[in-house]
Symmetry: C2
Subunit: 100 residues, 2 copies
Amino acid sequence: MAEEKAKETKENLENVVFVGKKGTMSYVLAVVTQINQGANEVMIKARGKAISRAVDVAEIVRNKFITEAKINDIKIATEEISTEEGNPLKVSAIEIKLVK
Amino acid sequence: MAEEKAKETKENLENVVFVGKKGTMSYVLAVVTQINQGANEVMIKARGKAISRAVDVAEIVRNKFITEAKINDIKIATEEISTEEGNPLKVSAIEIKLVK
C-alpha cells in the first residue's frame, strides 16, 4: 500500500508541465508527448502572467489533440517567490490536472 | 420550487464580476463590495490575458479581505468572440466561484 502510494507520487512528479514564457504550442507539445508516452494524467502548472497561457494549453490539448482528455481538477493558490534582489514576492499560481 | 430556482439564477447573474484591463484592485473592490452587500457567492469571470488577473483577484479577496471566503469551483472553457473586423477568434475563459 505504501509502495503504491510512493509510486503514485513519483508518477505525478514526472508528469508535470511548467508553463512559462515560451510559445503556447511548446507546452501543448510537451503535454501531448507525455500522454502519448503513456501518462494517464498530466499536471499543467503556471505562475503569474503565464496562468493565462496554462489555460490556453489545457484547452488546446483537450479541443484539438486529445479530445478524450478531461479536466479533472483546477486549483489556484498564492506562492511566495524571491525576486532577483532576494525580496519576497507573492504570486498567484494555477494547477490544472488533465486526465485521459 | 420553480420560483426559487428563477430567483437563484437571477442572483447568480447579478453577482458576476468580469475582470478586464483595469487594475487588479478595482476588481477586488467590486467583489468585496458585492459580498459586503450580502452576496453569498460571487462569480469572477475573465477571458484571454485577463485570466491571470482573475486568479489574482480571487486570491487577494480570499487572503486579504474576506478570509472566510472559499473557492467553490473553477471552470475553464474556450469561447468564440468576434474581432473588430468581424472575424471569429477563439479565446480561453475562466470562471472562479467564490463562496462566503
